[in-house]
């Protein structure tokens, strides 16, 4: 039985990785996938000259949680840091695995 959920994808400079992960967890995501990625955007300068990579965080959550995560990112990070984020609708099996019961 497939459930329709939302995948949040965040790509950011690696310096604020831990902060972003805590945002994701605080909103109740039950897990995430983290990978190192490369790329360039409108802010090509990275403060960590040496750590050239960016990080990509992916998590699958309920649509409400996804909106809450995106809202906090917009409020706290979009203005000053190199971060982009987007939502995708995904079909998953075992929907309860991704949505914590509150």
């Amino acid at each position: 039985m497939k459930t329709l959920l939302t995948q949040v994808t965040i790509v950011s400079e690696s310096l604020i990785k831990d902060e972003l992960l805590s945002v994701v967890r605080r909103h109740g995501a039950s897990g995430y996938t983290l990978s190192r990625v490369e790329g360039e955007g409108s802010r090509s300068t990275r403060a960590h000259e040496i750590e050239r990579h960016n990080v990509r965080i992916e998590t699958i959550v309920s649509p409400q949680t996804a909106d809450a995560i995106l809202g906090e990112l917009a409020e706290r990070y979009f203005e000053d840091f190199a971060v982009i984020a987007w939502l995708t609708e995904v079909n998953v099996l075992r929907g309860e695995k991704f949505v914590s019961e509150e």
Binding site: L15, T45, A47, H48, E49, I50, E51, R52, H53, D80
Partner: protein
């Protein structure tokens, strides 16, 4: 003049030049990220270990004055840097404070290059210098951030955490603790790995830094002549102050010159990370261009030999 040329023709400096050249001719040379991290861990840990062993062999009475002047330099240089950056450099408060945090802190590689240059010039240095690197690294960044007066919410704590647990202080202080606990006799068992290949590793590291700096030097044109001037003036002013402070504290002439080079250097590992976290509105294009594109190459090529000569000139003043 001879000292300048003599300083330039050393494996360490030439490796840096080769790195610059690699970028300018668009060579496909690239130091893999993991190797770069490995080299920097090796260098920081090795400096810490050697410094720690030296601490066991230096009487505390000889350490107090150098440590005290170093702390004082770390607390004062952000103010002078801020004044010069905002007045002469025409930077705003936030960018001025961000750059001041870099000048208040220290570049470990400039320190190593200065030791190398002092040795080539035939000057003895003090073995406890790594301890001074650790002392100089932290306060300048914090004072610089406070000068901005408007850090991000929770930014200052995050910055303190970033500096104190960041690999450069962690390895330096951790290495020193190990070196001090073990002493020279036990350190001998690891010295074939941490002492003998040290200069070679430093060469490879500078090769990479040359490539990174070359990328920054391209931004210098955009930064304008004011910043170039300030980026060369600050290391000289701070460098001379540091050298005199070192001599006044009873350090060797070579050691005082190295302390001067440290004082005149701008951090580019610990400070950028802390500043980015606490002062995200400051432009990395300004503070990284200043520290890596202007001041670091200036120190490697010109600043360090000048300070060694300056220390030789001043030593008569401090008998």
């Amino acid at each position: 003049m001879e000292l300048l040329v003599q300083n330039l023709v050393s494996p360490v400096v030439l490796a840096f030049v080769l790195g610059l050249l690699a970028r300018w001719v668009k060579s496909d040379l690239e130091i893999p990220d993991a190797l770069y991290q490995g080299l920097s861990i090796y260098l920081l840990f090795a400096i810490g270990l050697k410094g720690g062993v030296a601490l066991t062999e230096t009487p505390i009475s000889q350490l107090i004055a150098p440590c005290a002047v170093t702390l004082l330099l770390g607390l004062l240089t952000p103010f002078s840097a801020y004044l010069i950056l905002t007045r002469l450099g025409k930077l705003g408060r936030i960018n001025g404070a961000a750059a001041a945090a870099h000048y208040g802190s220290v570049s470990a590689v400039t320190f190593l290059a200065a030791i190398d240059a002092a040795e080539i010039a035939g000057r003895d240095t003090d073995d406890f210098l790594p301890a001074l690197v650790a002392i100089l690294e932290v306060p300048g960044i914090l004072v610089g951030l406070l000068l901005a007066r408007k850090t991000r919410r929770g930014g200052l704590q995050a910055a303190v955490h970033e500096i104190v647990t960041g690999k450069s202080i962690f390895l330096l202080v951790g290495g020193m603790a190990i070196g001090a606990l073990c002493g020279a006799e036990k350190f001998a068992s690891v010295s074939p790995f941490f002492v003998d290949p040290f200069k070679g590793v430093l060469c490879l590291f500078l090769l990479e830094l040359g490539m990174v700096a070359a990328g920054r030097i391209q931004d210098v044109r955009r930064a304008g002549w004011r910043l170039v001037f300030v980026g060369c003036l600050l290391p000289l002013l701070h460098g001379m102050a540091g050298t005199m402070a070192g001599l006044a504290a009873g350090m060797t002439t070579g050691g005082a010159a190295v302390l001067g080079a440290m004082t005149g250097s701008a951090s580019y590992i610990a400070a950028p990370a802390a500043v980015r976290i606490a002062l995200p509105k400051a432009s990395p294009g300004i503070y990284l261009t200043l520290s890596l594109g202007i001041t670091f190459p200036f120190n490697i090529g010109i600043g360090i030999p000048l300070l060694i000569a300056f220390a030789g000139f001043c030593e008569k003043l401090f008998p």
